[in-house]
Structure formats: C-alpha cells, structure tokens
Subunit: 466 residues, 2 copies
C-alpha cells in the first residue's frame, strides 16, 4: 500500500472530527426508543426564564436548550395549582376525569388519604409496557399513603419530598416564608421509594441532591431506555438555595434558586452528552402552574401575562414549554397551542408506544410538530378551576365565563353573564374585551364547552378524602 492513499481517509476522518461541535460523534443506537426526561418546575411563572424575558434571572443552560430546541410560547398546564396539574401531565387527562377536580381542597395535604386513582395509567406505566426503566426524582403530590406512592404508579424508583415543601408547618405563620430560611420550620419528609429517610428534609440541599440522584439514575440506566420524571420542589416557597448559589443573583433568593435549577438542567444535559445519549433523549422543561404572586418577591413572575397561580387568567396556566432533542426536535419558536396534557400522547408517538385506548384522553400527539414543525393538532384548551370550566380558548380567541384574582380568598369569583372575549395572540395580557364585536365567536366557544362537557364524567374527588 502506498502511503499516499491513506491521506483521503485521514482527511475525511479529521474533517468529521473538526466539524462536529462536540468533537467526534459516538455512534448512538437508533434501534432503541428514545429516553424521556421531563423536568417540571414548581410555581415557576411564564416570565421567570431569561429566554422568556426576565431581566435579572439568568438561565444560560435552559436558554441553550430553548434556542437549540423548540420554545413553545402558547403552552398550558392543565390546572393552575399543583396536584391536579401533575395528575393531568402524567395521564393526559383533565383533572376532573381522574378524581383531581377538587370541590373544596385544591391539592393534597398531609392529612389527605386520597391519591391519583390506581386505575389511571401514567406515562411511567405506559412506558414500562415498552420495557423502560422509570424513575421520579422530586415532588410527587399525588397521594403519600403507601398505596398512592409513585412506586405503585409505574415508577421503579422514587426519591423526593412527596408533597409541597410548605406543608407540615411546625408553627405556621406567613412570616416564616420571608424570614431567614430555616428548614426546621417545615417538617416535610424526604422519601426513597416507600421509606422516609429524612425528616424534616434539609431543603437547602434539596435541588442539589435531586440533581445528583437524577444524574445517578441516568448513568445507571444508560444501557436501557429510561423515563426520568424530574419535578423540582423549588421554586415553591419557602425558598431554599444551596450555599454555592446563595447571593449569586441580582434577582435575590428566587434568582439564586433559578440559577441552581439552571445548573441542574446543565448537569442533566452534560450527563446525557457524556454518555452519548443526548441525541436519543427527549428533554422537556416546563412548570406546574403560574407564579405564586401573594408571595411577593419570593414568588415568580408571569411576564406580560395577567395574574398568576390559582387563576384561569393566562398567568395562572400558561407556562414556558421547551422540547430538546438534537437531531430530532427541529429548532424554533412554536406559537401553536400545546399543553402538558399532550405529553403522554406525544411520548407515545415518539417512542412507538400505544397510548391507552380504553378511556378518553385529552391530549394530542405533538411529535409531528417536534420533528417537522407541522401544525399542532391542538386548537383548543379548557381552563378548568375545580369542577368548572372558567374559560376556553380556541385558536386565537379566549372566552372567560368566570374570573377570579389570585389576591382574593378562595371561592370569591365573578360570574360574567356576558362572557369576556380576548384575542389572545394579539392581546396576551388579556386587556381588551371584544365580546361585543364577535358574538358569533363567543357562541361557537360556548358550543365547544357544551360539547366537551357532554363527554366528561367527574370522578369522585380524591382530594376531599380524609
């Protein structure tokens, strides 16, 4: 062999090396279905990421996956408070169908005995059928008695605080939320699988420890398809950051924690890259509901959207939606509608799994949008509060039948005999009521609600169980 003939081969090899931003690509198998990672924030508002416009919160790692993946700007969570939002995400069904349409109690409390009904099929259960390893690191909040724990709902592994981090208050006072953070004031348990391993959980290190466990889970399951559901306990008040992040953000403690969460996202992504799994893993980043505005500077921001957590105004239910999977998710900003309700069907579509067919699903398969920027199959969305539909959106129009503000006590609502109508793409802040100008639109939205309600059977409310 003459030496000269080697050069073109070396050349091609070197070129491929130098052109790839991450160096030479490790062969990633396409035979195995993609891994799924859902990172779910608690009480993070539409305006709390740098890439969604916050001036002083810095989230470079999240911004990067938004920039290199898809940034959804009309993305909705199925409920404006915690437990129903989480149940809907995991099942693809409106909370009312799964026993999470509350009557009096809007979320599970430590004294609750209910939970997500075992007959419901979670993403974890769906993917287990396909041979996935499944884990949840973080906040569950769908029932904490043994029969309701994640380990009974399709998850092989659980590590986290099973409900909100402001529960089990030792000596409840609103002041404790704003004083020097002391985790002893909230006697919340930290669990591993079905065992309490620490109580009160040291919340200062909770984001750090969740992240270490998430990295461990990914690393351990590198050779099998896996589903990691990663619902953070933060940035729900009381706010706790670890010492590496405290006093690092101009946004104060809330910003420190957002920096820590951003670091955490960076850890997940770099672990996937190190294991050469990044191109075969769909990473989803979103939030359970809007910002808890009554927490003042300790609460987040809905950006230009109206109101926050607990309401059916946009600020309560529209959240950042980010999808990232290099080589599969086509980068761009998506202004079409999407919802956490769509995650189950989308994951089914992307992994070639069969979504449950024996029940009504409220989600749509968004995988064609992810892959080809096709139009979203979702054109409408119902804004439930408790058992009622307060508002409905169909494409660019949103009608409000009942409204409330997050500053009012519960159940102080305004019923609009003449519903409000907003052109929500032109007026995302819901300032200008155009009901008079478009009675036909209002009529069609009302018809949409009625037609939907005919197909809804309210399951017995689990959150009332004591």
């Amino acid at each position: 062999m003459k030496p000269i003939t080697l050069y073109p081969i070396i050349l091609v090899w070197l070129l491929s090396f130098s052109c790839s931003p991450q160096g030479p690509k490790t062969e990633q198998t396409t035979e195995r279905p993609p891994n799924i990672v859902i990172i779910f924030m608690d009480d993070m508002g539409y305006g709390d990421l740098s890439c969604f416009g916050h001036p002083t919160i810095q989230t470079p790692n999240i911004d990067k996956i938004a920039h290199e993946g898809q940034k959804w700007t009309n993305f909705y969570t199925a409920c404006s408070v915690c437990s129903p939002s989480r149940g809907a995400l995991l099942t693809g069904r409106y909370p009312i169908r799964i026993g999470l349409g509350p009557v009096k109690h809007r979320v599970f409390f430590p004294e609750s005995t209910g939970g997500l009904p075992s007959g419901e099929i979670t993403i974890a259960e769906m993917l287990k059928e396909k041979g996935y390893q499944t884990g949840i690191i973080g906040k569950w909040h769908l029932g904490h008695l043994p029969e309701h724990l994640p380990t009974r709902q399709g998850f092989d592994y659980y590590y986290g605080i099973p409900y909100s981090n402001d529960m089990d208050a030792v000596n409840w006072s609103i002041k404790t939320f704003f004083s020097e953070p002391d985790f002893n004031m909230w006697n919340v348990p930290l669990m591993e699988n079905e065992t309490i391993i620490e109580r009160p959980a040291n919340q200062h290190t909770i984001t750090k420890r969740y992240t270490e466990k998430a990295v461990e889970f990914i690393t351990k399951n590198r050779d099998k398809p896996f589903f990691l559901y990663f619902p953070h306990s933060m940035v729900h008040t009381p706010l706790f950051a670890s010492k590496d992040f405290i006093h690092t953000s101009p946004r104060g403690l809330f910003g420190d924690i957002m920096s820590e969460v951003d670091w955490s996202v960076g850890q997940v992504i770099s672990t996937l890259e190190k294991l050469a799994l990044d191109r075969n893993t769909l990473v989803i980043f979103t939030s359970d509901n809007g910002p808890w505005l009554i927490m003042l500077e300790h609460g987040g921001s809905a950006g230009l959207l109206r109101e926050g957590k607990g309401t059916t105004w946009e600020g309560g239910m529209r959240v950042p939606g980010i999808f990232y999977m290099p080589g599969t998710v086509k980068p761009g900003t998506i202004t079409d509608l999407g919802s956490t309700l769509d995650l189950l069907p989308t994951i089914a579509g992307l992994t070639g799994t069969t979504a449950p067919t024996d029940r009504i699903l409220d989600g749509y398969d968004l995988s064609p949008v992810l892959k080809e920027k096709a139009s979203s199959s979702r054109d409408h969305f119902f804004y439930y509060r408790n058992q009622d539909i307060y508002a409905v959106r169909n494409r660019e129009y949103k009608a409000h039948f009942i409204t409330e503000t997050c500053y009012q006590a519960d159940n102080q609502k305004t019923v609009h005999e003449e519903p409000l109508l907003f052109q929500i793409n032109q007026d995302p802040s819901e300032k200008y009521n155009h009901a008079d100008a478009h009675p036909e639109v209002l009529k069609s939205l009302q018809a949409l609600v009625e037609s939907h309600q005919k197909g809804v059977v309210a399951a017995p409310p689990e959150m009332e169980k004591r």
Copy 2:
C-alpha cells in the same frame, strides 16, 4: 516536489474552510475604525421582541444578534417620549441640558420652529472629525426647519419623515388610528436631504424604502468608515406594513410590522456580511421609549415592566438594548445599567475618537463591557420628565418622587411626600415599596439627585418655540 508534501497544506486549508460557519473568512482590515450602525425603534416596548419574551411576535434576526452579541436588560432611554430621547442619544446629554427639557410641549410638532441647538455636538459631528461618512435614514424629530435638519447636524445624507408619522393629520380622529390604514390621513412629508420628495409619504412602504436606502448607504460607503443612524418611523401609530408582511403575524398588524423591521435588520446584517464588513461594524438596536399603551392592540408591550410611554415607571424608559459586532462584542446577557446616553462616549471609546470635552456629558464609555464584559461604569440614572426628576436609580434601588400613569391627561401627577423605593432587580415590575425598611438608601438617593441638580443648567426650551 513529491505529491505527498502537498497534503498537509491542503488539509489545513480544507479544515479552516470547513470549520468556519460562514465559510473562509475574508480578510477584514483592522486599521480603519469600526463602522457604526444604530437601529432605533419608535415606541417599541421592552416586551416586544421574541428574545425579550413576547409570545407571538417573531424576530429571528434580532434574536440572533442578541444571542451572538450582548443583550442588555437594564438599558434606559433618556426620556419617555420622542424628541428629547433622540436628542439625548445623539449628544450623550440629558434633554434638559440641550433645550429638550419641555415645559408644555413634550415633542416637536409641525408648527414648531425650534430644534436641537446647533451648538450641540452629535455623534455624527464627532465622527465627521474622524473622517466618517454619516447618514440618517428615518425619523429625525429634532426640528424640521432647514436650520435644524440633520444635514446641519453632521449628517452627509438624510432620507426620511422628519417627525412623527401621526402628525399633519388631515381630519384628526382617534378612529383613524384603528381603521383600515390609509396614509392619506396623515400629510407627513418624506424628505431627501433638505427637499420634500413626497407628501403625504406613502407609509405602507416606508420601512421597506428606509431599508433599501440603508443598504444603499452601506454599500456606497463600503470603503470608508461610516456612521448610519437608522431610526424607524414604525412601530409608532398609525401602523403601516408593506404587502409582503401584512397578515403574517399572529400578533396582528403590530406583529406584521415587527416582522418587517426584523427583516430589515436581517437586510442590514446580510449586507454587512456580503461586504465583509460585519466584523468591523458595531450594530446597536434599541428603542426611543416604551410602548404607547393608550393605542390598545396597536400599541406595544412593556413585558413584565410597569406602565409605558410617557411615564417614568420602568415600562416608559427601560428598552431592549442589543450590541453586535462579531469578534469584538463578547456575547452574553448584561444586567448592569446602560443608557442611550452612553452611546456617544461608547462610540468615541470604540473608534478612538475624542468625545466633546468642553461640556458636561451624561454618558459613560461602555466599550470595556462590550469588549471584555467588564462592569459597567454607569451605576445610576435619572428619570426626567420635562424639567423635573421624577425618579432616580442607583444600582439595585430606584426611588420615585413623583409618579404618573400613561392613562392620565398630561400634568396629572402624584407627588409623593414619602418617596417610593423599589428593589428594582428583584422587583422589576415595581410592585413592592420598601421605603420604610431602607430610609438610609432613600436619603442617599435624594442626595444623589441634589448633587446632580447642582450641575445642571436648563437650556431654553426649544419645543416651546412657535
């Protein structure tokens, strides 16, 4: 020569070719000082760019320069209305010093006879000393009688509408702003240098024509250092888009125009790239003041900031600030303070020009931040309205002595005997008054104002001249 010795050379050449995202770099001279392009929006709010969080306005070209350049999130215009804001940008001095601190009339009107005093030194005049070719394409609004035109203030070339596009109304009615756009309703002139070349200006094509002229100016001056000041007439109401952009944005007509402006920015950047001038041209993108909220959906959005145009709340005066110069401007988000007042000293610093030394300048040279992400020299900012200081910011604190809302008639102001104090980095929406908790901060802010005022001489108000 043996053929084999050629391969390493070819290899190196091929590698350099394949690694550069834009293909092989054309040699760009570093001897000549950098060109300057300032793209200045009219009434575009803090929340009206995709990269600053708007959900339905899409600005991919602007997002790209923000992402690859510096995105300033605490960047201020020197006045919340048009003429004073423009005068301050061009001179680096607060409006009150340059005859633009109004008493009654806040901007120049067609019947005005005043203008930016000829004794003031504009960026154009400063750069002419250094041999720059200077041009302004767009809205001047600093006096339209011959002695006040741009051609008398250091600009070699002018093309544009000399004042606001809603002036010279033929039959004034608020309805005309919201009806089917008809440019004949506003008899505004289009000028080239000192000659009126069209009246009424066809505003449908104004953004398109400005852009063509800007590209022409850059191309014509490719071999000399140039300064292009490019203040758009849009998105000031009445809104006009050209037919290529009408009905293209889910945000409606306002969004159509933002898309057209974004296309325009793309045209400027691609022209610089084609001429291999992109690495030797500082491009600045910002806005003259916050959104004109009384224009309803035809007005913009301040995002999470409070209020809009005409006020000293953040929404009136904080605007997007973007600096782009590949290879020189270090990419990143800058949360330090900056202002349009700083452009003159920054441009002086970057081009090696001497800024005026015979007068007080209110700007700071930000070029170390651009080049090395050094800390900004600006730590405070005065929020003037007319001749008064309504508010002051020093680092994270902002005190409000007088407030107003943009929905009130002019001069309906609230004087706060006990000033308001906001921790503006933690509370950008100015919701939580902490005056009681920090009396010492308030005192130091008041002292800062008093010390500044001792050095201010109000020049005779030009906008009162008739």
